[in-house]
Amino acid sequence: MMAEFMQQILHSNDIYILSSYVATAVVLVIMALSSWRSKKNDENDLRILEKQLNDLSGKQN
């Protein structure tokens, strides 16, 4: 059944539709994840540095 389905896809233009939608999904997921992760990493860096800054200013006071 599965082999028949794959055979049908490979021998028709459906393979181009399938490849286009899969490629789009992959590119969109990469773009979303990289944008989100970049923001999260910068948030973490800022949190750590702000803590260091507070500790340092606390010591100086």
Binding site: A23, S38, K39
Partner: protein, 241 residues
């Protein structure tokens, strides 16, 4: 305009609007895909293969729209030295490059069954490839020049000059004989498709737009945070002054 483009205000407002934009993106993708695969009829000449346009057209549109944003933001940053404009332009570039790559990829997957070839040095295809290289060049300027003010200035010049290519892309199908079909939506005499096919295309363009806005907000937030990180590092390096 200047008031709303303040980085602190942007961070506050974006936190409120972001969940709405994400929800709208999911909703538009779900309805767009439902229309594209279940309601839009099969094309009488191209069969089901034409359904590639529901991702190819929005990707190509976003590639050019993204570049438009970069050019306008760069001009604002260049002329008025606005702090958020350069960051907005910089944040847009990777997304624009991604959409351009997607337009080229889905275009070649459309070309094979329709024209019998994945690629041809046609005016529309070539100008889109040039757009992709301009995006890469723009990003390279930001990455290779350490002095951020200098990088912003040079990147803005690249972006403003590169807008000529977007005009060439738009009119390439009118100025030259190309394999690529003429505009379907943006026509003075109205779109050449209608009914559920048009609804599906509009919904998918809306989905790509909302996706772009959501990812762009994350990227601008990231660049604003990075500036703060840099400022604190300088402060810490100087022992709080």
């Amino acid at each position: 305009m200047h008031k709303f483009a303040n980085p602190a205000r942007f961070m506050r407002l974006s936190k409120i609007f972001l969940p709405w934009f994400m929800g709208l993106t999911i909703l538009l993708f779900a309805s767009g895909l439902y229309y594209a695969f279940f309601l839009a009829p099969e094309d009488y000449q191209m069969g089901n293969t034409y359904r590639i346009i529901y991702i190819h057209v929005p990707a190509a549109y976003m590639a050019q729209f993204g570049y438009g944003i970069i050019a306008v933001a760069s001009a604002v940053g260049f002329i008025w030295k606005h702090p958020l404009a350069d960051q907005a332009a910089r944040a847009t570039a990777p997304l624009g490059a991604g959409f351009t790559a997607l337009a080229l990829l889905t275009g070649s997957l459309w070309g094979k069954p329709m024209w019998g070839t994945y690629w041809i040095w046609d005016a529309r295809l070539t100008s889109m490839l040039v757009l992709f290289f301009i995006y890469l060049g723009y990003m390279a300027v930001w990455e290779t020049i350490e002095d951020q003010a200098k990088a912003a200035k040079i990147a803005a010049i690249v972006a403003m000059v590169g807008i000529i290519n977007v005009v060439i892309i738009k009119f390439s199908v009118d100025w030259w004989n190309t394999l690529h079909q003429p505009a379907t939506l943006m026509r003075l005499d109205g779109p050449t498709i209608g009914g559920d096919m048009l609804t599906a295309l509009i919904l998918m363009i809306g989905a790509f737009n909302m996706f772009f806005v959501t990812a762009l907000i994350w990227r601008i937030q990231s660049l604003i945070l990075r500036r703060r990180v840099r400022a604190i590092r300088i402060q810490l390096g100087g022992g709080l002054g």
